[in-house]
C-alpha cells in the first residue's frame, strides 16, 4: 500500500513544526532506576541479596572451596568445636560444619522464598487481572474466593499440610503460596481497575485487539511496577515464615540443612554452645532485614510519593 517512494513526494501540512516542543524526557523506568541507584542503603541491601542468592546457587562450589566439608557429614570426634581456624563457624552436636550448613541452608531458605514469591505472583496476577479486567460476576466470584483464602488461618493450614505431605522445598513453597496469592490478587485487581480506565486501553480495543492481548501486552506492563514492589517486599516475609515452619518442624526436615531447622537443633545447646543459635539467627535476621530494606528502596524508587521524610 504505502511504499516509501511515495512518502518523499508528499508534503504534509505542518511537517517540521513543533520539534522544539518535543523535548526529550526520561521514561518512568529510567527515572525509577536512577532513584534506586541513588539509594545507597537500598543498593547495598540489594547487592547482599544478590550475593546470598549466588552463594545459594553455587553452594557446592562454596562449600568445597571455602570450608572443605560436606553439609551432612557427621564427625563425632569434632562435636561442638568453637569457631576457629579448622571450622570457621564451629560445628554442631554431630560435628557438622556450621558454615557449610549455612551455605547449603541458603539454598532452602532463598529457594523456597523465591519460588513462593514466583508462585503467588503468577497465580495472584492472573486472578487479579481477570477479575479487574472483566468485572461483573467474574470479579465477584474471584474476589470472594480471595476473601475466603485470606480468611484461612495460615498456620493451621501449614500444620495440616505438612502432616499430609512430607514437605520438600517445592511443596513447601506451594503450601505457603496457596495463601500468599490472595493479597497479590487484590493488589493487581486494584491496579488493573485504575489502568483499564485509561484511554489507551479503549484506543487499543478500537484497533481490534483481543482481550488476551490487551491483558498481557497492554495491562500487564502497566501493573508491573506494583508486582516488582510486592515481590521484593515479599521475599523477606517468606524467609521468616519458612524459617518459622522449619523451626517448628513443619518445614524442611533434617538432615537437610535449613536456617530454620538449624535453630531447632541449636536451642537445646543454647547455654552450652550459644554460637550454634547465634549464627543461623543472625543469618536469618540480616537476610530478612536486607530484603525489607531493598523492598522499601524499590517501592520508593517506583513511587516517590510514598517516601516518608
Amino acid at each position: 500500500m504505502i511504499g516509501p517512494s511515495r512518502v518523499a513526494e508528499l508534503e504534509m501540512p505542518g511537517a517540521g513544526v513543533e520539534t522544539a516542543a518535543a523535548r526529550p524526557a526520561q521514561s518512568y523506568w529510567n527515572e525509577s532506576w536512577e532513584r534506586l541507584r541513588d539509594n545507597r542503603l537500598g543498593m547495598a541491601a540489594g547487592v547482599l541479596i544478590l550475593v546470598l542468592a549466588l552463594i545459594a546457587v553455587l553452594a557446592p562450589v562454596f562449600s568445597a572451596v571455602l570450608t572443605h566439608y560436606e553439609p551432612q557429614t557427621i564427625n563425632l570426634d569434632q562435636t561442638f568445636v568453637r569457631p576457629g581456624a579448622s571450622h570457621l563457624l564451629g560445628t554442631d552436636e554431630l560435628g557438622r560444619d556450621t558454615l557449610t550448613r549455612l551455605i547449603w541452608g541458603a539454598r532452602v531458605s532463598l529457594g523456597v522464598a523465591f519460588l513462593t514469591v514466583a508462585m503467588s505472583l503468577s497465580v495472584g496476577t492472573t486472578v487479579g487481572m481477570v477479575a479487574g479486567y472483566y468485572g461483573g460476576w467474574i470479579d465477584d466470584v474471584l474476589m470472594r474466593l480471595v476473601d475466603t483464602v485470606l480468611a484461612i488461618p495460615a498456620i493451621f493450614l501449614f500444620i495440616l499440610m505438612s502432616i499430609l505431605f512430607r514437605p520438600n522445598a517445592v511443596t513447601l513453597a506451594a503450601i505457603v503460596a496457596s495463601v500468599g496469592w490472595g493479597s497479590v490478587a487484590r493488589l493487581v485487581r486494584g491496579e488493573v481497575l485504575s489502568v483499564k480506565q485509561r484511554d489507551f486501553i479503549l484506543a487499543t480495543r478500537s484497533i481490534g485487539a483481543r482481550d488476551s492481548r490487551l491483558m498481557v501486552r497492554h495491562l500487564l506492563p502497566n501493573v508491573l511496577p506494583v508486582l516488582i514492589v510486592a515481590a521484593s517486599l515479599g521475599v523477606g516475609q517468606i524467609i521468616l515464615v519458612e524459617a518459622a515452619l522449619d523451626f517448628l518442624g513443619l518445614g524442611i526436615q533434617p538432615p537437610t540443612p535449613s536456617w530454620g531447622n538449624m535453630l531447632t537443633n541449636a536451642q537445646s545447646y543454647f547455654f552450652h554452645s550459644g554460637f550454634l543459635v547465634a549464627f543461623p539467627g543472625i543469618t536469618i535476621f540480616v537476610t530478612v532485614l536486607a530484603s525489607n530494606i531493598f523492598g522499601n528502596a524499590v517501592r520508593d524508587a517506583f513511587d516517590p510519593r510514598l517516601k516518608s521524610h
Binding site: 504505502i2 501540512p13 518535543a22 518512568y28 484511554d199 487499543t204 478500537s206 485487539a209
Partner: protein, 329 residues
Amino acid sequence: MTQPVLEVQDLHTVFATKEGTVKAVDGVSFELNAGETLGVVGESGCGKSVTALSIMRLQRPGRIVSGKVLLKGQDLTRLTEYEMREVRGREIAMIFQDPMTSLNPVYRVGWQVAEPARLHHGWDKKKALQSAVSMLGRVGIPAPESRARDYPHQFSGGMRQRVMIAMGLTTTPEVLIADEPTTALDVTIQAQILDLLRHVNREFGTATILITHNLGVVAGMCKRVVVMYAGRIVEAGPTKDVFAHPTHPYTWSLLRSIPRLDAEQHEPLRPIEGVPPNLVDLPSGCSFHPRCAFKVERCARDVPVLLQVGESQRSACWVTQAGTELKGA
C-alpha cells in the same frame, strides 16, 4: 447516488445507572458517504461520543438496545465479537480526544503505530514497523525513523495526535471516527491537526466522522453536519445551509452564542438559558422545550421527529416544521 459507506439507523444505546436508565443515544440515524467528512456537533453529554463508540461496539458498559449500523450494507450490531474485532482498526479507525493518554506509556511509538497492521495484516514486526515509520513521516512527524524509537512521553500533545492519526491510517480504513480530536490541544496545534485531517481525507479518501463541540471546526471541515441534543439528532443538513438558516431552535441558539468578528455592532453574546437536561429524566415532548425561545404548547406534549424542513435540511422541531422561521428576540 451510491450507497453510503456507513449508515446508522435508529440507534438506541442505554446505560443502566442507579438513578435509572440513561438513553444516551435515542434513535439516531445518519449516513456517511464515501470520502466525505461529516460533522457531529452538540454540547457535552449529548451522546456524540457514545454514538461513535456504539458504531465500534465499544460502548461498554452501555448496551445497544436497537437499531442498525450498516458498514457497506453489513449490520455491525449483528456481528460476533470475533468478526467485530476484524472491523475495528481495519475498516473503522478511531481517534480520541486526549492524545496524552491515548498511547500506552510503556511502548515505543513505532511499535504502537505498527500494532494495527500486525493485528490485521499479519505482518511481521519488521514490515509493520517499516510501514509505521513511513506513515509517521506522512502525518508530518519529522525524523520518523528515530522518533519511532521514542516513547509517548517524549512527544508533545500535537505530535501525539499525529501519532494517533498515523496509527489509524496504517490499515487504510474505510471510515475514520475522530472524537473531539483537537479539544485537548491549544489553538495553533488545533489548526495543524485539522489541516492534517483534511489532507488525510483528500489523500486517502477516508470517510471521516468528526465529532466536536466546536462549530468553527465544523464550518471549516465538513460539508454536512448533524446536530445532537440529549441523545437525539435535532437538525441535519449541509453545513452552509444549517449555519445560514438554522431550522432548529437549539442550532439557532448555539450559533447565536458564539462571538462573531463580522457582527454589525457590539452585540452581547447570548448564552443558551438553562442547563442540558438530565438524561435519566428527560423533559416531556421535545427535550429542548424548557430552554426554547420559540416553544409552543405542543412541544411539551409530543416528541418531534426529524423531517424535511426547507430545501436541504431536516429538523426535529414542531415550530419550524409548521413553517415558522426562526428570527430575532
